[in-house]
C-alpha cells in the first residue's frame, strides 16, 4: 500500500531523511512514534504529497503522491496536528466537502459525531479546538479513504475524548484501510495500534507488530536487583522497577508502549537484537 524506498528529504540545508525505507500494508493501524522534530510529520506530508522527496521513491496505492492526482487524493485523508476547517455549519461540510470522497458515508459520519458527543447542529465557528478536531477525525473516518494519516490526533483532546478516540478508531479499521497515527504521546495509542514504528533522527529505529513484541519481550515490575540488572531496559519507580526482558517463558505480558519507546531510544541495539533471530 505504501512503499518508501531510500527517501531523502531536507528542509533547505537541514536533512531530515537520508535513505529511509518503509513498507506499510492495509488492515493495520500503525503507530509512528518519535520525539518532537524527528520527522514524523514530514514523513506523513511526504506520503500525502504535500512535500516532495529530494531523492528516493514513494508509492502510495500505486500513485506517486507528489502528483496530487484526484484519484489519489480521494483515497487519502490527513488529519494534521494543526488544521483548518472553514466556518460553516456541520451540514455544509457534509454537503460541499463530502462529494469529493466517493466512498463517504453520511450515516457513518453522524455515528462518529454522536460517539464523540459533538453537537450536530452547531457551526464549526462555535466549536472548541477539540470539537473541531473530532469533526475532522469523524470526517476522515467517514470518507472511507484507504489511507488515513493522523498527526498527533490526541493533542488538544481531553481525557474523555481520548478514550472516545480510541473507541472510535478501534471500530473503524477494516482490511482495506491503512491508518498511520503519528504521536509522541505514546500512552494514547496503547491497545489501539497493531504495529509500532519508531522514528528518530530521520531513521527507522524499530518496526515490529504488537504480536511480535508480545512474543519476544516481557514487560513486568521487578524487585529482584539481579533481574533488573540483566533487563534489556529498566526504570525505577515507586512500586519497584519497570523492566523489559526477553520473553523466554512464552507468556504474553501487557505491553507498556511508553517503556518500550524509551527502551528503543535509549538502548535500541539490545532490544532490536531480540527480534533478529
Amino acid at each position: 500500500m505504501i512503499a518508501i524506498q531510500n527517501l531523502h528529504f531536507a528542509y533547505r540545508k537541514k536533512p531530515v531523511f537520508t535513505g529511509l525505507s518503509l513498507q506499510l500494508q492495509p488492515g493495520h493501524i500503525y503507530g509512528l512514534l518519535g520525539k518532537n522534530g524527528t520527522g514524523k510529520s514530514t514523513l506523513l506530508r511526504n506520503i500525502a504529497g504535500l512535500l516532495f522527496p529530494d531523492k528516493g521513491k514513494i508509492e502510495v496505492l500505486g500513485f506517486t503522491p507528489g502528483k496530487r492526482e484526484p484519484s489519489f487524493l480521494q483515497e487519502i485523508f490527513m488529519v494534521p496536528e494543526e488544521f483548518y476547517l472553514p466556518d460553516v455549519p456541520l451540514w455544509h461540510l457534509v454537503q460541499h466537502h463530502a462529494p469529493f470522497y466517493p466512498k463517504f458515508n453520511k450515516a457513518q459520519f453522524e455515528k462518529y459525531i454522536a460517539e464523540f458527543e459533538v453537537p450536530a447542529g452547531s457551526t464549526l465557528q462555535n466549536m472548541s479546538y477539540g470539537q473541531k478536531k473530532k469533526v475532522l477525525i469523524s470526517f476522515g473516518l467517514a470518507s472511507n479513504a484507504s489511507m488515513l494519516l493522523m498527526d498527533e490526533p490526541t493533542n488538544g483532546l481531553d481525557i474523555m475524548s481520548k478514550s472516545q478516540f480510541r473507541k472510535v478508531m478501534a471500530g473503524a479499521l477494516d482490511e482495506n484501510k491503512c491508518i498511520v497515527i503519528s504521536t509522541h504521546q505514546v500512552k494514547d495509542l496503547e491497545n489501539l495500534i497493531d504495529r509500532v514504528t519508531i522514528i528518530d533522527e530521520g531513521k527507522i529505529l524499530f518496526d515490529q507488530t504488537i504480536g511480535a513484541i508480545s512474543r519476544k519481550l516481557s514487560f513486568q515490575i521487578s524487585f529482584d536487583s539481579e533481574e533488573v540488572k540483566n533487563a534489556l531496559y529498566s526504570e525505577s519507580s515507586l512500586r519497584g522497577a519497570a523492566i523489559i526482558t526477553t520473553n523466554t517463558e512464552g507468556e504474553e505480558s501487557k505491553l507498556d508502549l511508553e517503556l518500550l519507546y524509551k527502551a528503543i531510544v535509549l538502548n535500541g541495539a539490545a532490544v532490536t537484537s531480540v527480534f533478529k533471530d
Binding site: 504529497g49 483548518y84 460553516v88
Partner: protein, 294 residues
C-alpha cells in the same frame, strides 16, 4: 477518471468555494457599492452643476476595476501562505487545473461581472437622481422652450466621442486582465504581503526592462526618436558641421529616415496583449501551484 480536468469535480469546487466565502464576498460587494456611491456623491457635492460626465464615469469604473480586481487577485491564493489553510486546500481531491480554474472563475469572470453590474446599478441610480435634481434646478432658471440635457450613462467598453477604428477601451480592459493575472501569479509566489510584493516585483522587472532598453538598445540605434508609437523609428539627419570638427543632428523630413516594423508584427503584439499575456501568466500560476509544497 480524468486526472487533469473533470467538469463535475470543478463544479463541486465552485460550490465549496462559494459555501466557504459567500459571507465575505457578499460583504465585499456591498462595500464596493458603498464606495462607488460615496465617490459619486462626493463628485456631485463638489462639482454638482456639471454632474458626472461619461469620462468621469469610465475613469471611476476602470480605477475601481484595476484597484479592487488586483487586490482580490492578490489574495486569491492567500490560503497557500498559511500552513493549515494551504494543507486543507492542497488535499482537496481535485486536480491543480480544476483548482486554478475555480479561482479564475471567481476572480476573472465572476468578479468582473459582479463589479460591472454593481457599477452600473450605482451609476444608474446616481445619474437618475442627479438628473432629477438637476432638472428641477435647471427648470427654475431656464425657459420652458430650452432643452435640458441629462447626464448620459457611459458605455464603459466604448467611448463614442473618442472612437477610432480600434476602440482603445478594449485594450485598457485587456490590460486589466493582464495586470490582474500578474497579481494572481503573485498570490501563489508570495506567501505574505502578496499585493505589495507583486507591485515591487513588477516595478523591478519594469526597471530592468527600462535599463535594458536605455542602456543596451538605444545606444545601438542612430540618433532619432520613436515615431507614431513604438512601431516606427525616425532616424534624424546627421551631417558634419561646416567647420568639419563635429557633427550636426537635426530633423529634416526630406533627409530623415523612417524605419517601420511590418504591420503584421504590430498585429501580433496587439493580439498577444489582448489574448496571450493573461493566459501565459495563468499557465505560470498553474505550474507554480503544481510545485507548491506545504
Amino acid at each position: 477518471m480524468n486526472q487533469l480536468f473533470d467538469a463535475g469535480r470543478w463544479w463541486l469546487l465552485v460550490g465549496k468555494h462559494w459555501s466557504e466565502n459567500r459571507k465575505k464576498y457578499t460583504l465585499s460587494l456591498i462595500a464596493i457599492a458603498g464606495l462607488l456611491l460615496f465617490w459619486f456623491i462626493v463628485i456631485l457635492a463638489v462639482d454638482g452643476h456639471r454632474g458626472i460626465g461619461t469620462t468621469m464615469q469610465s475613469t471611476t469604473y476602470y480605477f475601481g476595476l484595476f484597484v479592487v480586481g488586483c487586490l482580490y487577485a492578490s489574495i486569491l491564493f492567500a490560503d497557500l501562505g498559511s500552513k493549515t489553510r494551504g494543507l486543507n486546500y492542497l488535499v482537496v481531491p481535485a486536480s491543480h487545473l480544476e483548482k486554478l480554474c475555480c479561482s479564475l472563475f471567481y476572480a476573472v469572470i465572476l468578479f468582473f461581472a459582479c463589479y460591472t453590474a454593481i457599477f452600473y446599478i450605482v451609476d444608474v441610480l446616481v445619474l437618475k437622481t442627479a438628473n432629477a435634481i438637476g432638472y428641477s434646478y435647471w427648470a427654475k432658471h431656464h425657459l420652458p422652450t430650452d432643452i435640458f440635457e441629462p447626464q448620459k450613462i457611459v458605455n464603459v467598453f466604448y467611448l463614442p466621442e473618442h472612437s477610432r477604428s480600434d476602440n482603445d477601451l478594449i485594450y485598457l480592459l485587456m490590460t486589466y486582465f493582464v495586470v490582474q493575472s500578474v497579481f494572481i501569479l503573485g498570490s501563489i509566489y508570495f506567501a505574505k504581503f502578496s499585493f505589495i510584493k507583486t507591485v515591487i516585483a513588477s516595478l523591478l522587472i519594469g526597471l530592468l526592462i527600462t535599463f535594458i532598453v536605455g542602456k543596451l538598445i538605444i545606444p545601438i540605434l542612430p540618433p532619432g526618436s520613436y515615431h507614431n508609437g513604438m512601431n516606427s523609428y525616425q532616424a534624424y539627419t546627421v551631417k558634419d558641421t561646416p567647420s568639419g570638427d563635429g557633427i550636426m543632428i537635426y530633423s529634416d523630413a526630406a533627409t530623415d529616415k523612417l524605419v517601420s516594423l511590418p504591420g503584421w508584427i504590430n498585429t501580433i503584439l496587439l493580439f498577444l496583449l489582448k489574448f496571450a499575456f493573461a493566459p501565459l501568466f495563468w499557465l505560470a500560476a498553474y505550474f507554480r501551484l503544481k510545485e507548491k509544497e506545504i
